[in-house]
């Protein structure tokens, strides 16, 4: 009789809940079907967050202070400090062996730090709080780690039970729709391609409706289409207010998805918004190309507002160091026209996050050689 009543309640719930809309509240998973939009007012939206300051209405979603981990004499990572706001997508970049995965495992309570302190989803990172923290977070490791003999649904149902998720059947269905895998629900995981397995692992990470989601190289080994799907899902999760800690080697991915990034090379090298990091590391420049070389470039570029200096780069190219390109560019254009120069192009130089990354990592390499 009890089972019959439960079954009837389950049926009624299913009818009254639209699968296309993720409802508010901790009981519903933050997942969406492809092409469907999240409607999730339960957390402060990312756009409302004071990103970069790591605080939204009080405690940050994730914080670390002087966090470190040693394995004997070997330092995995050391003196790592940051604060991540609710709903923020935080990129964690670094070369192989920099300590990214160990940091994720430490924050995910899988291993214990040897120094420093942290709070995860508002809870202090201590051995006693491990279970409570793991209830509020989800970790997608680099390797999907699926039970290959079990079907996709069986894998997810097992994890829904491990999280003690209410309405596990619904959760599994929604997670599958979120990663566009509903049609492969009954396939054995061993029969899926690497990309599809990665998607199953992502669905598994969504089952618990996590406050903080750790994604360790989520697009590693995926083809461009699968990568795009994962990016869309991360965007959707961001809109729903989930805090995402993303480790990746793909710098363009970090640049596209992350509100802020940190670059780790055992110690934290830098942290900030991609634009700010570029400005910190690279001087702003304007590049001018003319049809024929200028006869007196020194006279043309002298005393222009916001132009700090210039150098010739090849026969017809000039690179101008500027403090404010919006002020400098019109002045440079006028000066060139007055000098009678045939201008082919004037452009602001753009540095990618990759430039920032390589600059910092190369600095470390040079320091080590010295």
């Amino acid at each position: 009789m009890i089972y019959l009543i439960r079954w009837l309640i389950g049926k009624l719930r299913r009818r009254t809940t639209s699968p296309a809309v993720a409802l508010s509240g901790r009981d519903e998973p933050a997942v969406h079907a492809r092409g469907e939009r999240f409607v999730t007012p339960r957390k402060v939206a990312a756009s409302d967050a004071v990103k970069g300051d790591g605080e939204v209405g009080g405690a940050p979603a994730l914080s670390a202070l002087g966090l470190g981990k040693r394995f004997g004499d070997r330092v995995a990572f050391d003196d790592v400090s940051f604060e991540i706001g609710h709903g923020e997508v935080f990129g964690f970049l670094g070369p192989n062996g920099a300590g990214k995965t160990t940091t994720v495992r430490t924050l995910g309570t899988l291993i214990a730090p040897t120094s420093g302190s942290a709070t995860v989803a508002g809870i202090a990172l201590t051995p006693d709080n491990g279970v409570e923290i793991r209830r509020r977070i989800s970790i997608m490791p680099e390797s999907p780690g699926l039970y290959l003999r079990l079907s996709v649904t069986e894998n997810l149902a097992c994890f829904a039970d491990l999280y003690e998720a209410p309405n596990p059947g619904d959760r599994v269905d929604r997670a599958l729709r979120a990663v566009n895998l509903a049609d492969r629900a009954n396939d054995a995981c061993g029969s899926l391609s690497k990309g599809l397995r990665q998607r199953v692992a992502l669905a598994r990470a969504l089952l618990s409706d996590p406050q903080v989601l750790f994604l360790d190289e989520p697009t590693s080994g995926l083809d461009p289409v699968a990568t795009r799907d994962v990016h869309e899902l991360i965007d959707a999760l961001r809109r729903s207010g989930v805090t995402i800690f993303l480790t990746t080697h793909r710098l363009e991915e970090a640049e596209r998805l992350c509100d802020r990034v940190a670059i780790l090379n055992t110690t934290l090298r830098t942290i900030g918004r991609p634009d700010d990091l570029r400005d910190q590391l690279f001087a702003k420049t304007l590049t001018v190309r003319t049809l024929i070389p200028l006869s007196e470039p020194g006279r043309v570029f002298a005393d222009l507002p916001a132009v700090d200096g210039w150098r010739q780069d090849g026969a017809r190219d000039y690179v101008l160091a500027v403090s404010d390109s919006t002020l400098a560019a019109p002045a440079v254009t006028r000066a060139l026209v007055q000098a009678g120069a045939d201008v082919l192009s004037i452009g602001e130089s753009h540095h990618s996050l990759e430039d920032v990354y390589l600059e910092l990592i190369n600095e470390d390499e040079e320091a080590r050689r010295r």
């Binding site: 899988l110 209830r135 780690g145 491990l162």
Partner: protein, 240 residues
């Protein structure tokens, strides 16, 4: 510490599903009991009716207790290190599951099929003896005390074998090594039951009660000791 039945059940179900779809495990679980069935069966079926008097002082049936001692050993020895090698341990340990719950789920998944197989083989043996043995052999062999010992010691021996196997599994870095050590560690149980079966150790009520009490204590301690040996960090990183 409260144990979540739902999480224990999740691990238990998952394990059983994996067993069902893994031919190697199914074959291994079938072959070992059959090997232990053959020797006593041949011996009993070859007995003449006149030999039934001599059976009154022997405990041929207890030889079958080797089955619950050995069948779960390989399963249990695979349980943790197998997940580790497959790369499935990290996602599981990333959930709110406690190590005690994880290990209990694993232990139950080894325990239930092993005990079921042991009882099934035992029932099969009794049926064959009843049908094919010479007149007088079956009543002499099938004594209430031996049947009771079989019923009581099967789960106790299986439990002990499982905790030893899991303890080895939590400390091993390779499946095959763990399984070999698991079987090896349970050989003393097999030796003792065989010695009782062949009347080298005299089976008395005191011996039976003492053995059962020791195994009961060991089973209770097994869960705690194995849980204490279960080191998340070492299992995930392979260090420490």
């Amino acid at each position: 510490m409260s144990v979540s039945r739902r999480r224990v059940r999740a691990i238990f179900r998952k394990e059983l599903r994996e067993y069902r779809r893994n031919r190697t495990i199914v074959t291994g679980m079938a072959i070992l009991p059959l090997l232990f069935l053959v020797q006593p069966l041949v011996a009993v079926l070859n007995l003449g009716a006149s030999a039934s008097g001599g059976l009154a002082h022997e405990h041929e049936l207890l030889y079958l207790l080797a089955i619950p001692a050995l069948v779960p050993a390989t399963l249990a020895a695979y349980s943790v290190v197998g997940e580790r090698q497959q790369g499935t341990l990290e996602p599981v340990l990333g959930t709110p599951i406690r190590r005690e719950e994880f290990l209990l789920g694993k232990a139950l998944a080894s325990f239930v099929p092993s005990v079921a197989i042991s009882y099934a083989v035992y029932a099969f043996f009794l049926a064959l003896v009843e049908i094919f043995a010479q007149p007088g052999v079956a009543p002499a062999l099938l004594r209430g005390s031996d049947l009771l010992a079989q019923l009581v010691f099967t789960p106790l021996l299986a439990g002990w074998s499982i905790w030893v196997g899991i303890a080895i599994s939590t400390r091993s870095s390779e499946v095959r090594v763990a399984q070999q050590l698991g079987v090896l560690a349970n050989l003393p149980s097999v030796v003792v039951t065989s010695l009782i079966a062949f009347n080298v150790i005299h089976a008395t009520l005191v011996v039976a009660l003492g053995g059962a009490a020791v195994l009961l204590v060991l089973n209770r301690l097994g869960w705690r000791i194995t849980s204490a040996m279960f080191d998340r960090e070492r299992l995930i990183t392979g260090t420490r």
